[in-house]
């Protein structure tokens, strides 16, 4: 079941689609208390529920003071079934002349006490039980869960009724029974949460630190189980109020002397042939109380971990942007007739937690030549992935992309709406992603998924598409294509799944292939094969490739030209050999130096001090200045434009005066047996 429910994971990773920036992760329990309360207080619906509940509590406590009537005895027996307002009875009277308002106030008492009893029983039994079987697992879990299964195999009310048969009827017994059944729900919840928490490394960390089982359970696991538990407790309280009313309505809960809301409904039924009125106030009281608990519980859940926003098919196209008045920037070096030419791309996202916008990609220009492999290199948060997605009109919600122009093979893409772009996506531009297994739909065979664009774009019949898919499988090196075409994605290893993705991306013979970190999720020995495959297919079909990666080694293997991104900007671009041999930007130099290589070393590894700042901290000047070893006064003046230096473009004020170090050839030691036999030490 956990597998089936994997899709439910409530982790609010809004940036997951493209991770435009290192958005601070707000995990459930990690949110500081003040932020939790701020979020809860801002939730008007939840607050309305909370206020209503406070009123119910007040009514329950002060019931005798709020009314002059008695809960169980009629004031005057001739006052039977008075309408509201009649003779001073605000809500009228019931079939034996008792004041309904009074009974509603007292009913609040029974509802709260009954709810509290059931929830308390459920927690006292369920929490330790769930913690124990979740933590110790093994036989304890097997026996415990079997027991839970037995209890929940029967509807909760039925099981409660069976327990009531054993205990005898009455409100206390009824709620005890309900509590026992609910304890199974709590047990299951706590166990599942403990299972999840046990997989967390911080629990292993605590065990490694020497914390005892008990300490791990109470100090490390329980606090992180608490949020869902609190939410569930609130919702169960609502269920308990409902159950109390229901059982009292049947006559196996509250007895005739107790003015519970459910009992009132039962009494109202006796006079229903004359009027329905006595049934209305208790019904509404139950209804509102349950609603209040539910909305408050939902509010708590949202405050603990906000649901990811959006959910609509959350992507958008690129909107046109005014051409900037300033002098045209230098053309990115490259061919005169590029396949794709991107000018002035900006992407903004709303800043997390606030209404203001932040720019995550600024003024990106890019030219990709025909049949050329262009690498877009950067660390996480540089904006490289989202730049690639914007070319297909796939900027995830709530991002907003705008550009002066995107020309693909002579056609302007900016200004096309989402549906026009559909004929570009898959047909003119293919894309492969970082996580091949997640990028394939688990519900369909891979063959159907590869055939889909063939049918949509090329109008092939089912049969033709399948035949073509089999050919494609063979071309991307999937063994046994006839058989594998009918397999499901989970039956493929990561490398094979990526081959499927490549087959799909190339199925309609696109002109451009976007490869977004195509090897990052794969094992190192598989990575190489994937690079070879992409390179080979691109060359043989004349496809241009936009290779998005953080790995300079991958770039060196495949790329013809390279653009280096840092904090939303392209800081350097040029031919691969130029950029790597003679970098023109200090960030490129730092990146080249920091990459671990197979070479002997001395002293500390070179590093770039500090971290990539989040987008809302990007300054209005050189984004890299704070980490730059060459930073000088002129770097702090204002925004830096791209400028030509040698055959490259660079976004550095001091580039003309700096001597930056590129990749060092001499440092690399050739491994024996490579290039030529060493000739030394023949076998004796």
């Amino acid at each position: 079941m956990s597998d089936a429910l994997a899709g439910l994971g409530g982790s609010a990773d809004a940036g997951a689609l493209a991770s435009p920036a290192p958005v601070p992760q707000e995990s459930a329990a990690g949110a500081t208390r003040s932020r939790f309360w701020a979020r809860l207080l801002r939730n008007k619906v939840a607050m309305a529920g909370a206020i209503y509940l406070v009123l119910v509590v007040i009514a329950a406590i002060f019931a005798p003071l709020l009314t002059s009537h008695d809960e169980t005895f009629a004031t005057r027996f001739q006052d039977i079934l008075f309408s509201p307002g009649e003779a001073g009875y605000v809500l009228g009277t019931d079939h034996v002349g008792r004041d309904i308002l009074t009974r509603i106030f007292f009913g609040a008492r029974y509802a709260l006490i009954a709810g509290a009893e059931a929830v308390l029983v459920a927690l006292v039994i369920g929490v330790p039980f769930g913690l124990a079987i979740g933590y110790f697992r093994g036989w304890a879990d097997r026996i415990g869960m079997r027991f839970v299964e037995i209890v929940v195999a029967v509807p909760a009310v039925v099981m409660a009724m069976a327990i009531i048969t054993g205990l005898g009827t009455g409100l206390t017994n009824a709620m005890l029974a309900i509590g026992l059944v609910f304890s199974m729900i709590i047990t299951r919840l706590v166990r599942a949460e403990v299972f999840a928490a046990r997989e967390e490394f911080y629990v292993d960390g605590a065990r490694a630190a020497g914390a005892s089982d008990r300490r791990v359970m109470w100090r490390h696991i329980l606090p992180n189980v608490a949020p869902p538990l609190i939410v569930q407790t609130t919702l169960l309280f609502a269920q308990a109020v409902l159950a109390e009313a229901a059982l009292s309505f049947l006559g196996i809960g509250a007895d005739a002397s107790q003015a519970s809301w459910g009992r009132m409904l039962r009494d109202a039924e006796l006079s229903i042939d004359r009027t329905i009125w006595p049934a209305i106030p208790p019904g509404i009281a139950i209804f509102l109380t349950v609603v209040a608990f539910n909305v408050f519980g939902d509010g708590l859940r949202d405050a603990f971990a906000r649901e990811a926003r959006g959910g609509r098919v959350g992507v958008g196209d690129v909107v046109p942007k005014e051409r900037s008045a300033a002098a045209a920037p230098p053309r990115p070096p490259g061919s005169d007739d590029p396949l794709l030419s991107l000018r002035g791309l900006d992407i903004v996202f709303p800043k997390p937690g606030e209404g203001t916008d932040m720019t995550v990609v600024r003024d990106v220009n890019l030219d990709i030549g025909r049949g050329e492999v262009m690498a877009l290199v950067g660390e996480s948060g540089s904006g490289k992935t989202i730049t690639g997605l914007s070319l297909m009109g796939l900027v995830p919600d709530p991002g907003q992309a705008s550009a002066e122009s995107i020309v693909l093979d002579g056609r302007e893409l900016v200004g096309m709406d989402f549906n026009d772009l559909r004929w570009i996506r898959g047909r003119e531009i293919g894309i492969i992603f970082q996580e091949p297994s997640a990028a394939l739909n688990p519900a369909y065979t891979v063959g159907r998924q590869v055939a889909e664009p063939l049918r949509v774009h090329l109008g092939m019949s089912k049969r033709e598409a399948r035949e073509r898919a089999i050919e494609l499988f063979a071309e991307v090196g999937i063994p046994d294509p006839h058989k594998r075409i009918d397999a499901f994605p989970h039956q493929f290893s990561g490398g094979m799944a990526q081959r499927v993705m490549i087959a799909m991306a190339l199925s309609c013979e696109p002109k451009l292939l976007i490869a977004d970190e195509p090897t990052t999720a794969l094992d190192v020995t598989v990575q190489g094969q994937m690079l070879d495959l992409v390179g080979e297919l691109a060359r043989s079909r004349g496809v241009s490739v936009l290779l998005i990666t953080h790995d300079l080694g991958v770039v060196a293997d495949l790329a013809d030209r390279v653009a280096v991104m840092y904090a939303g900007e392209i800081v350097e671009t040029g031919r691969l050999t130029d950029v790597f041999a003679t970098p023109r930007h200090p960030y490129t130099e730092g990146l080249i130096a920091a990459i671990p290589r197979n070479e002997p070393r001395s002293g500390d590894l070179p590093t770039i001090p500090g971290v990539v700042p989040p987008p809302w901290e990007w300054p209005d000047r050189c984004h890299f200045a704070d980490r730059c070893p060459y930073e000088a006064i002129e770097c702090r003046r204002g925004p830096v434009d791209l400028r030509q230096l040698g055959a490259s473009l660079t976004r550095c004020e001091r580039s003309h005066e700096l001597e930056l170090r590129g990749v060092q050839h001499a440092a690399v030691v050739a491994i024996a047996g490579w290039e030529q036999p060493t000739g030394e030490g023949e076998p004796a």
Partner: protein, 358 residues
């Protein structure tokens, strides 16, 4: 020669198979680690390298005594780790500490940094809260953070900073051995080297030994004195870092080295050539590890019949390491290429005798 600090002797780790679709069906067990022997001297760093599914993390967890091997023994100092019962002695927890890969998941999100670092101090040194806080502050400074970070929650830090906090927590008990499970692989390149430099400085300062588990040979080379290469449950080669990385004697080690892309386009050109020659068959270890043969046989460009019939005995290499490969006993000519190309500068003939205790 003194005893090694950590002595892993002929350890095999087996995971029971899950249940099948039918209630009485049992899936076969998974042999995650088979007959692995490794030693680490005090103050030394051993790199354990392999791809996913190689068993490297499982072996690390056995050292941490999060799981118990099926057979073999693990000894650390005076502790007989495999002899522990359900309760692991607190003293042992003090001696061995761990840093995990995931900088997000490895710190309890509901505790402030101060409490996270203070926990081991209070457990192992019985410090009161003010003393623990004082010491936690020192530790934070030692890993390059500031005292005022004590009252922050983990989610307020970047990945690299979180790894520093995890290191501070691990060092709090003044351990003899630190198990580092992919400590930098989730970090950006520029942050990776910061954490590596930190770990090296701390080793010089504290004298702790490291077991560094990683998939990237280049990273491991820079950090480790010795390297053990694992493939699909077996250690296939063991030796000094520079020897492993410059004169590999196992075909898998060579493939690994050829697969690490290099930022120098010229070097990468040579490497990718070699990679294509070496990479054969279906890439990636899959399925269950075989018990009676070399797990690399299916992918090995030099595979011989004997490779499918038995797993080789350990053979000393010329550079003082050990290799588990039939090529070194059943060579020397393969496909027209002398074995010496795989093990340059070594003399194979001497290597035929199994070296049990090296």
């Amino acid at each position: 020669m003194s005893e090694p600090l950590l002595d892993i002797d002929d350890v095999t780790i087996v995971f029971p198979g899950g249940r099948g679709a039918l209630p009485w069906q049992k899936l076969p067990e998974v042999r995650a680690v088979q007959h692995v022997s490794l030693q680490i001297d005090a103050g030394d760093t051993l790199g354990l390298v392999g791809e996913s599914g190689s068993g490297k993390t499982t072996l690390g967890r056995a050292v941490l005594r999060f799981l118990r091997p099926e057979s073999g023994s693990i000894r650390l100092g005076d502790f007989d780790v495999t002899g522990f019962g359900r309760q692991v002695p607190t003293e042992y927890r003090k001696t061995v500490q761990v840093v995990f890969q995931d900088p997000v998941g490895s710190l309890n999100p509901s505790m402030v940094v101060g409490a996270i670092i203070a926990e081991p101090l209070r457990i192992h040194f019985g410090m009161d809260s003010s003393a623990a806080r004082e010491r936690a502050g020192e530790l934070l400074e030692q890993v390059g953070l500031q005292r005022h970070h004590l009252d922050r929650y983990p989610h307020e830090f970047s990945g690299g900073q979180r790894q520093r906090i995890a290191v501070a927590r691990a060092l709090a008990t003044e351990p003899d051995l630190l198990v580092l499970d992919e400590p930098v692989s989730a970090l950006d390149v520029s942050t990776q080297s910061q954490v590596i430099n930190l770990l090296e400085r701390l080793q010089r300062e504290t004298g702790a030994a490291y077991l560094l588990i990683a998939h990237d040979l280049a990273v491991v080379r820079h950090t480790c004195h010795r390297i053990a290469v694992m493939y699909h449950s077996r250690v296939v080669e063991l030796g000094e870092s520079d020897d492993i990385c410059e004169r590999p004697t196992h075909p898998y080690t060579e493939l690994l080295l050829a697969s690490i892309p290099d930022p120098d386009p010229a070097v990468q050109h040579v490497k990718s050539q070699r990679r294509r020659e070496l990479a054969q068959g279906v890439a990636g270890a899959s399925g269950r590890a075989p018990t009676g043969s070399c797990p690399f046989a299916e992918r090995c460009p030099h595979v011989m019949d004997v490779c499918r019939e038995s797993f080789p005995e350990p053979i000393p290499t010329a550079t003082g390491g050990t290799v588990w490969c039939h090529l070194h006993t059943n060579g020397p000519m393969l496909g027209g290429r002398p074995v010496s190309e795989l093990a340059a500068g070594s003399s194979m003939a001497e290597a035929s005798a199994p070296a049990a205790d090296g």
